[in-house]
């Protein structure tokens, strides 16, 4: 998602040692808000570039051809375009011959912010039609195109008697590829998305198929964990076209239980007990009243809501319900008949997604569950300071942490993105054990070790993308 490119660009732009500390923050802000009055002219010229062409691909072969055109192995004639489009493509791409022709993937849903350095000429690939979903009838896995929506995977799996064991942190209409090169966070109560990711079909910059990981089994003892290493930034190393992910059998009984809490202290206490109990749940979603109303319009909700997905044999689920009720003591009401947000029909789910996407998301905050009262207090302050109401979405993990995606009811303007991102970053610095992940957070991190790790990733990118095709780094 351009994280490495952005970082390299900003590091290069602020490389003058005497000015580094003074101008870096100003430059980050100006880059983010595209304040051309502050930015040097050569940087403005770079940022003003647009993708030369946008190509809608329908198959893996289309993607391969594009990569091979970009790296010079094939001419544009191999694109098989109609004459008019062909001449257009040739003209557009030939304009960029003086620099790299990059291939760029754009996430289907991007909650936070597009990359700072936009596609520099080259080819923007529209992968929406790479949306095939093959759920394995014998095993518990699926092979899914990067353009397929998570919700479509969920529905297709249900038809095959399966369920994806990972859920979006915010109930948005993400595509599967968004977890590889966007800011979609999929996870379950018991594990991160990587646990359910078997392999990624992709094309490397030299135009060959590169299947990273495997498609039917895990990848233990097969060398470095390349899947884990590239996760979150796949499209800066290769061009992914499909993912192989784990599925779970649909349990004999699946329940969605909703607990309403009067305040953050009671919810934090309940989460601490839940995550110390070893009681298995599929998901443990957290909402405030505003977030709840966006996902379940019309359903009653308390100030804070915990939504648990529970699955298993009927005897086990019955035992678990009583135990969970006892563990979560402090709730003021419980609802056992609110449908799971994931079981809504596809159109309703998409409408919910659209409602939520009108808000501004600047990043994710993760903190120990016991910090929830302090965290919520700080988020309310951030909302007041930015003059916006805040709606909260989040989920707890069995590790004892809770991740929150605060949604600000304010226009999605770059200046707001910047100021809210900065506030979230500051909140994470104040809370022990907390972290902030946002488009900007990693630009602010000046930790020596973090910088050393990024240097390693940058070198890896240069090696893996030696043809300089996959979101090539932009020279200043």
């Amino acid at each position: 998602m351009g994280l490495l490119v952005d970082r390299a660009f900003i590091d290069a732009a602020t490389s003058a040692p005497a000015l580094r500390e003074m101008i870096r923050e100003t430059l980050v802000e100006a880059l983010f808000t595209r304040n051309d009055r502050v930015l040097p002219r050569d940087i403005v010229a770079v940022l003003a570039r647009q993708p030369s062409i946008t190509v809608k691909v329908r198959s893996d072969t289309d993607v391969q051809k594009l990569v091979r055109v970009a790296n010079g192995q094939e001419s544009t004639i191999s694109l098989g375009l109609p004459a008019e489009d062909y001449h257009y493509a040739r003209r557009q791409l030939s304009v960029t011959k003086d620099r790299d022709i990059g291939v760029y993937l754009r996430p289907a849903v991007l909650t936070t912010h597009p990359w700072i350095v936009p596609p520099q000429g080259g080819i923007e690939v529209d992968v929406r039609e790479l949306s095939s979903i093959e759920v394995d009838g014998k095993g518990n896995r699926a092979l899914v195109g990067v353009g397929a929506r998570w919700k479509a995977v969920y529905d297709e799996a249900a038809r095959a008697g399966r369920v994806p064991p990972f859920f979006p942190l915010v109930p948005l209409d993400y595509a599967m590829g968004d977890a590889l090169y966007g800011d979609a966070i999929f996870q379950s109560y018991s594990g991160p998305f990587r646990r359910y990711l078997y392999g990624v079909r992709s094309f490397a910059s030299h135009g060959r198929k590169a299947r990273i990981g495997f498609e039917e089994v895990r990848d233990h003892g097969t060398g470095y964990d390349a899947l884990g290493l590239l996760q979150n930034s796949f499209s800066e190393f290769v061009v992914p076209v499909a993912v192989a992910v784990a599925m779970a059998p649909r349990a004999r009984m699946m329940k969605n239980w909703v607990y309403h809490f009067p305040d953050a202290a009671k919810l934090a206490g309940a989460l601490a007990k839940l995550t110390s109990s070893a009681r298995p749940v599929l998901y443990a979603n957290v909402y405030d009243a505003a977030g709840w109303a966006l996902v379940h319009p019309g359903a009653a909700g308390g100030p804070l809501v915990l939504e648990l997905g529970v699955a298993g044999a009927p005897t086990l689920v019955a035992a678990r319900e009583k135990a969970l009720d006892a563990l979560l003591a402090g709730f003021t009401a419980k609802s056992a008949d609110t449908p799971s947000p994931y079981d809504a029909d596809a159109r309703a789910y998409a409408r919910t997604s659209e409602r939520i996407l009108k808000h501004l998301f600047a990043g994710y905050l993760t903190a120990p569950a016991k910090s929830l009262p302090a965290l919520l207090g700080m988020l309310q302050e951030a909302g007041v300071a930015s003059g916006a109401k805040v709606a909260l979405f989040g989920a707890a993990r069995g590790t004892g942490t809770v991740s929150l995606a605060p949604a600000f009811e304010t226009p999605r303007e770059p200046a707001k993105f910047y100021s809210v991102s900065r506030r979230l970053w500051e909140i994470a610095q104040k809370l022990p054990g907390a972290s902030c992940n946002s488009r900007l957070a990693h630009l602010w991190s000046q930790d020596r070790m973090y910088r050393a790790r990024l240097v390693v990733l940058q070198r890896l990118k240069e090696d893996i993308d030696s043809a300089r095709v996959v979101e090539p780094t932009v020279p200043l």
């Binding site: 394995d136 095993g139 518990n140 896995r141 966070i185 996870q187 018991s190 594990g191 991160p192 998305f193 990587r194 646990r195 030299h206 590169a210 299947r211 495997f214 039917e216 089994v217 895990r218 990848d219 233990h220 003892g221 097969t222 060398g223 470095y224 964990d225 390349a226 899947l227 884990g228 290493l229 930034s233 290769v238 779970a248 059998p249 110390s276 699955a311 298993g312 044999a313 005897t315 086990l316 035992a319 678990r320 135990a323 994710y364 993760t366 016991k370 590790t399 942490t401 991740s403 972290s435 992940n437 991190s445 070790m449 973090y450 790790r453 390693v456 990733l457 890896l460 090696d463 893996i464």
Partner: protein, 477 residues
């Protein structure tokens, strides 16, 4: 002692590799490791990190001499955070001790290697980190928040921000070191995210007449909505091997060992469900004493080495739906190579069965080492059925191009960028060096190595007699 790992190898291998290190160093601090790496670079010597030496593919064995770094003295347990269930441990600590330490403080190490008493933290991570408990809790990489490593440059690096939820982290280098087999740096310490101690951990054992009768077990459990802690299917040949050295071992039969963990009420309900499930497949539930003995012996599966002095264990992963076909083909390969092989299996997740066949080998008999051909042939079965062999190291690195095909360059890039001068555990995993630093003979192409094992298989088939070390009731399989 430092010139081999758990795998048995014929003496002839010494013609190919200089497996005896020039120096063995036992560092105690990260500064010592850094200085050592810098010194090795200056002296032009390869540096080979080593933990408990329980690997199977020569990952911790020199191939061209050099400095072997025995990490077992770096075994300190550092920061303990019971509230967040975080534990920081140095690389040389054995997993059994880490588990015991955590348990004594009310925490639970959710996964552990099969060789936990000897296997060290760094060694297991470098070999992929899958083991007992993976079915329910995932891999070791899922429970590591941060590591400290020494890179081939001598620089100490933290691989992640320990406060970060790794599912959303950017700039996290932890994954590079999982499965790295010590080829890109030395793991110094790691912070582990432990689980709450379960109220109950109950082992159960079910008996089946033979392995074929238990063939539906992995698929049935994986297709159910139960989530056991661990599932293992033990071959009657394994029990026969065990019985030779441990007379108290049950009679040869296929055993399905399942353990359940969690709150007491849920464990009891799951046990009842499991009884019905496996009973329906013809399994007979054995007594608690047998189940407990199986559980207690989970880290001690290979004492049969004493029968011949040589034992070869190979690890593979198969798709769960291919388990039945795997059994057929494993029997066919063993029959053709005239060998007696114990095919034990463990469910790693719903789609993945770790199949770990092992056999005895007479290293000193003329045709004894030809038994190594099984490793190649069974690995080929794994590829053919959608799985793969586990571990590359020195001895099975010939599988590397077959494993990753068009993506090999991505894996090679990790080595090239982190160790550009090929100083840390060089000539393994992505390539195989010989002991000779001369053109042409300095590396062994993967095809040649594979061909050598195919020749061994051919010789094996000419052998007039089969290797049979134990009798299995009901005749040969």
């Amino acid at each position: 002692m430092h010139s081999h790992d758990f795998a048995s190898l014929p003496k002839i291998a010494l013609l190919q590799w200089k497996m005896i290190p020039d120096f063995v160093v036992v560092p105690k601090t990260v500064e010592e490791v850094s200085r050592l790496v810098e010194f090795a670079f200056e002296a032009g010597l390869p540096i080979i990190p080593r933990g408990g030496g329980s690997g199977l593919v020569g990952g911790a064995v020199p191939n061209r001499g050099g400095i072997l770094v025995d990490m077992r003295r770096m075994d300190r347990i550092g920061a303990v955070d019971p509230e967040r269930r975080l534990l920081t441990v140095q690389a040389g600590r054995a997993w059994k001790e880490i588990a015991d330490f955590a348990a004594a403080r009310g925490m639970f190490l959710p996964i552990a290697p099969l060789g936990a008493p000897a296997s060290t933290l760094g060694g297991w991570f470098a070999n992929g980190g899958v083991g007992i408990g993976s079915y329910k809790y995932g891999d070791a990489r899922d429970i590591v928040t941060d590591m400290q490593v020494v890179l081939p440059s001598g620089e100490a690096l933290r691989t992640a921000d320990g406060t970060v939820d790794l599912s959303v982290a950017f700039g996290n280098l932890n994954p590079a070191f999982f499965g790295s087999e010590g080829t890109i740096g030395l793991i110094i310490e790691a912070t582990l995210q432990l689980a709450p101690k379960p109220e109950a951990l109950v082992p159960l054992t079910y008996s089946f007449k033979d392995l074929w009768s238990a063939r539906e077990v992995p698929g049935t459990i994986a297709g159910s909505d139960l989530e056991p802690y661990n599932v293992a299917v033990m071959d009657p040949v394994h029990l026969a091997f065990m019985r030779t050295v441990r007379p108290e071992t049950p009679d040869p039969q296929a055993l399905v060992n399942v353990s359940l963990d969690g709150p007491k009420d849920e464990v009891a309900a799951a046990a009842a469900e499991l009884d019905a499930l496996l009973g329906g497949l013809g399994g007979k539930k054995l007594g608690e004493d047998v189940a407990k003995a199986q559980w207690d012996g989970r880290f001690d599966l290979y004492p049969a080495r004493r029968i011949t002095g040589g034992l070869v264990l190979t690890e593979t992963e198969f798709p769960t739906p291919a388990y039945v076909e795997m059994l057929r083909r494993a029997a066919r390969v063993a029959r053709r190579l005239r060998m007696q092989v114990a095919v034990n299996s463990f469910l790693v997740d719903r789609n993945t069965v770790a199949v770990n066949p092992y056999f005895l080998m007479e290293e000193d008999s003329p045709l004894g080492p030809t038994a190594l051909a099984f490793v190649k042939k069974f690995g080929d079965v794994a590829f053919a059925l959608g799985g793969h062999p586990e571990g590359l190291g020195l001895f099975t690195a010939f599988n590397f191009p077959k494993m990753h095909k068009g993506a090999t360059g991505i894996y090679e890039a990790v080595k090239t960028q982190l160790d550009p001068h090929r100083k840390v555990n060089p000539g393994k995993m992505t390539e195989v060096w010989t002991r000779y630093d001369l053109p042409i003979v300095n590396v062994i192409p993967p095809e040649i190595m594979g061909f050598g094992l195919d020749v061994a298989a051919f010789l094996r088939r000419l052998k007039p007699t089969s290797d049979r070390y134990v009798k299995i009731p009901g005749g040969p399989r």
